[in-house]
Symmetry: C3
Subunit: 109 residues, 3 copies
């Protein structure tokens, strides 16, 4: 059983919480961690921009990562949201088993 972490940015703490709740509710993720007070720096139309954002970290099974990413992109207020997937190569075995138990089957909608 392979698990992974999704690192997502959102326009606000409220959006990050709403996305996290939706994904855990749908069993597309076992849990969500929201960190507020992030500042994002990027280039927009040739100029550097800085925005206040929040970070959302999701833990799920690797085989659900694609469906979770698609759902995040549907729900997100951004046209091209930052969703990147980081491999988890180990950890507390009971916690890894809990991730598997809390997430649904593939194609569960």
């Amino acid at each position: 059983m392979s698990v992974c972490l999704l690192y997502v940015t959102a326009a606000s703490r409220d959006e990050a919480l709403a996305l996290g709740r939706a994904l855990v509710e749908a069993r597309l993720a076992a849990c969500a961690n929201v960190l507020d007070g992030m500042t994002s720096i990027y280039r927009w139309q040739g100029e550097l921009r800085e925005d206040a954002e929040a970070v959302l970290i999701l833990k799920t099974r690797s085989e659900l990562a694609e469906a979770a990413t698609a759902r995040l992109c549907e729900l997100h207020s951004y046209e091209c949201p930052c969703v990147v997937r980081l491999p988890i190569e180990g950890g507390n075995p009971d916690f890894l088993a809990w991730i598997a138990a809390e997430t649904g089957p593939v194609n569960q909608g």
Copy 2:
């Protein structure tokens, strides 16, 4: 020399700091980073729950990851703490060497 990052959640900033100090003190990690003000979302007995938590990030040698995880689980206030291990595939070579120098031998106790 392979190094990794442990992503851990704790019930409070104080618990995250205590875990971080214990692991660095025991040379099971070279350093610890604590981020406070995290909100955790998960399912508990069929209901969504949200808790205030803190994040603890540890950097250590991969061969110590199992011992570090076991120690975190012993010290942690949760029955099934979130400890997940992320691979580090590069970085500042001097910092990677410092992680190796600051961590102890395997089976050091």
Copy 3:
């Protein structure tokens, strides 16, 4: 096209922002995320120390990671800054393509 995440610590939010701006400006990273209010724990001359720091997360192409790391080490106020590289194994395909589009050629200076 392979992308990665650089996890960096800095002495302050201001330093993390300055490093993030410099790397995005130079197209050595597509974007930067700064999280303030981190506490770092490490051993210094045999004693545990704790410092207030900030976290800087950069997203870039893997083939630029070495140049980005070298630039971070040049600009950083620390002699041996924490720069570790985490693999990204997937995510929002449009966002991954955006990282590629926003970063420069290798050896671009």
